[in-house]
């Protein structure tokens, strides 16, 4: 088991910068998800950790050891490819013991470890089956087992669930989390699916355009997004962000949201944060964290569209070109065309600097 530290990591491909100065520490035995849309630099980061790409600048440390110049086969990382890259011309057993065979380990040792891994991953009955034509979850286990046989200090997983159909993903997620608990290994998991990151990871590193946006536990990232990108990216639907201007009044500070009216008076710490913003703010709240209130009290908006997704109802709201979403229980009675009044839950309000996009945190 090993901690990973990325210091000042930069990767350029010709004139294109895929990764702009990344700093990240991944703890020993931690499950870290690298989350972001495609092209955000997450796979590049992973490939550099594995040694498939050489960083343009910066350092990668496993524990205290600098990995510069260490070949990809010598880093002690297990890598699970998006398509698993199973050797389909071999049996399951030949896949599992490939690394040890190549290293010319003693036969008895190979047999012992194969048996142990096969037992752990429930592959015992399949060992002598050809590796072609196995179902995806078995392939995933073979891919993990094949890397695990080498007893790597670090496991890297590159979107292993992206080729799996939706219905099966839940099963695979559970299985993966279970395997990680068994191995108790440092794992880095690249994905563009926030559900995978939220359900499995200890911490999430959210990335966009080659820049690390925020690192935190799934709840931190969800509750306290560091900037407007994370606020919008995390959550389904993402956080509502409305342009507003802080206005001092007799009772305290409110946010003027133009056509929607004014917000309730902000509590003191948040007000203090809002006063630091130069220019306007982005007024943010989760669609799940709003209540309908009496006319005149909250933000007045018109119901444009009601989307029923089963357990919940997503209400699309609009007023003078400003849009927002709200998620209610199914029994909430709203009709298209209604004028409704919303108020974020107490404590659910988040403010962002309109100029920089950064969160305005209470100090």
């Amino acid at each position: 088991m090993t901690a990973i530290r990325l210091e000042n990591l930069v990767k350029r491909f010709g004139g294109f910068t895929a990764l702009k100065s990344m700093d990240l520490s991944i703890g020993d035995g931690e499950f870290m998800a690298l989350l972001g849309p495609s092209g955000c630099g997450k796979s590049t980061t992973m490939n550099m950790i594995a040694g498939m790409e050489e960083p343009s600048e910066g350092r990668i440390l496993f524990g205290d050891r600098d990995m510069a110049g260490v070949a990809m086969g010598r880093r002690g990382v297990g890598f699970v490819f998006q398509n698993y890259a199973i050797f389909t011309h071999m049996t399951v057993r030949q896949n599992l013991d490939y690394g040890l065979r190549m290293a010319r380990s003693p036969k008895a040792e190979i047999a012992r470890r194969t048996a142990a891994i096969a037992d752990l991953l429930q592959l015992g009955d399949l060992l002598d089956r050809p590796a072609s034509g196995l179902s995806v979850n078995i392939l995933q286990r073979v891919a993990i087992g094949r890397s695990a046989m080498m007893e790597p200090a670090i496991f890297l997983l590159d979107e292993p669930l992206s080729n799996v159909d939706a219905a099966f993903r839940a099963v695979m997620r559970t299985e993966l989390k279970h395997i990680q608990r068994e191995f108790r290994q440092t794992m880095v998991y690249v994905t563009h699916d926030q559900l995978e990151a939220m359900t499995m990871a200890d911490r999430i590193a959210v990335m966009d355009h080659g820049v690390l946006q925020q690192v935190g536990t799934p709840l931190e990232v969800y509750n306290n997004p560091a900037n407007v990108f994370v606020a919008r990216f995390i959550g389904a639907p993402g956080m509502n962000l409305l342009a507003g201007v802080p206005v001092e009044g007799a009772e305290g500070l409110r946010i003027d949201l133009g056509a929607l009216g004014r917000s309730a008076v902000l509590d003191a710490p948040l007000a203090a944060a809002a006063r630091r913003a130069k220019g306007g703010v982005q007024f943010g709240f989760r669609p799940e964290q709003v209540d309908l209130v009496a006319a005149g009290a909250g933000l007045g908006m018109t119901v444009g569209f009601v989307e029923r997704i089963g357990a919940r109802t997503i209400v699309h709201l609009e007023r003078d070109g400003i849009t927002a979403k709200a998620v209610f229980d199914n029994d909430t009675r709203v009709l298209v065309g209604d004028l409704v009044h919303l108020a974020p839950h107490p404590g659910a309000l988040r403010l962002f600097d309109a100029a920089t996009g950064a969160a305005l945190r209470e100090v």
Partner: protein
């Protein structure tokens, strides 16, 4: 609608009639090709068999249907067994095969390895490298005939490399003529190996290669455990094609040396050509040709059966 309902509603095209119609149409479609194959196999084989049992020759003054007047039974076949010139021609053909095919294979594989990933200029280099196989073989033969003249460019290049005048008469020396013929064959057909092996090589999944690297495999180990097994069929095909073509070798060689000097580069095809056109002993040529056809047919059927059995087993 379920499929049962469909067939109830649409009785116009019952499956049996459909299949019947398809079979008849299939037969008609394959008929021209079948006829051509029959035309080139049945008549020639029967004619060949017939005159191979006689001493007939175009010079014998008889039309070939009357060849029975020169009946000599199996004498021609007995002669084939004792024909020293035939056996040495076979030996030379085999020599060309065992030298050229492995050299072409190794060079082709080496080049294919260099072309496995992309690099600037790849397309242009690729187009240049596959050119020789598209040159008309007779023309290639003429190119090398010119190159290997004693005052030609090969000697010129060797002179400047060795720093002394080289005036080797390549095509008049029995050993060197053979070498020159092989060089020409290697020049023309290495590109074929390169082309086929490259197609196989790029078919090896890159992720599997990376996975093997991450599991600590050395380049040689990767080649042995991932690349070779995945390319086995392709390698067999490539080698088979070249072995077959080497057996037929004629055009290039004949233009370069005419089988000479003497009989130094006389291969099977050249030998048959010579006794066909110069000695005109067609009854005997027919016997040789039939023996070759028989041996090749047996070998071919055996190879295909064996391959089919392996495929079923896999």
């Amino acid at each position: 609608m379920t499929s049962a309902e469909i067939s109830k509603d649409m009785p116009a095209r019952p499956a049996a009639r459909e299949a019947d119609e398809g079979a008849r149409l299939g037969l008609r479609l394959t008929l021209p090709a079948q006829l051509l194959v029959l035309f080139i196999s049945v008549f020639p084989l029967l004619m060949q068999l017939y005159i191979s049992l006689t001493d007939w020759s175009p010079l014998s003054g008889l039309g070939w249907p009357r060849a029975y007047e020169l009946w000599n039974g199996f004498a021609n076949y007995v002669d084939v067994a004792g024909d020293g010139r035939l056996w040495s021609a076979l030996g030379r053909t085999a020599l060309v095969m065992v030298v050229c095919v492995p050299v072409e294979f190794l060079l082709g594989l080496a080049l294919a390895t260099l072309f496995a990933d992309s690099f600037p200029g790849k397309r242009v280099f690729y187009s240049i490298l596959i050119m020789p196989m598209m040159v008309v073989p007779a023309v290639a033969g003429y190119m090398f005939y010119m190159l290997f003249q004693s005052g030609g460019p090969v000697n010129d290049i060797l002179s400047s490399l060795l720093g002394m005048p080289v005036t080797v008469a390549w095509l008049s020396d029995p050993m060197l003529a053979m070498l020159a013929v092989m060089v020409a064959d290697i020049w023309q057909w290495t590109p074929l190996m390169f082309l086929i092996l490259l197609a196989g090589l790029v078919g090896v999944p890159e992720d599997q290669m990376k996975a093997a690297t991450l599991l600590g495999a050395s380049p040689w180990q990767k080649f042995r455990t991932i690349v070779l097994p995945r390319m086995k069929t392709i390698i067999i095909i490539a080698l088979a094609i070249r072995v077959i073509e080497c057996f037929k070798i004629f055009d290039t060689l004949f233009i370069m040396t005419g089988g000479g000097p003497g009989v130094a580069t006389e291969t099977i095809s050249v030998y048959i050509y010579k006794i066909t056109t110069q000695d005109l002993i067609w009854g005997y040529v027919a016997a040789i040709a039939l023996v070759i056809l028989l041996v090749l047919s047996v070998a071919c059927v055996w190879a295909i059966k064996r391959m089919a059995r392996k495929e079923r087993a896999a």
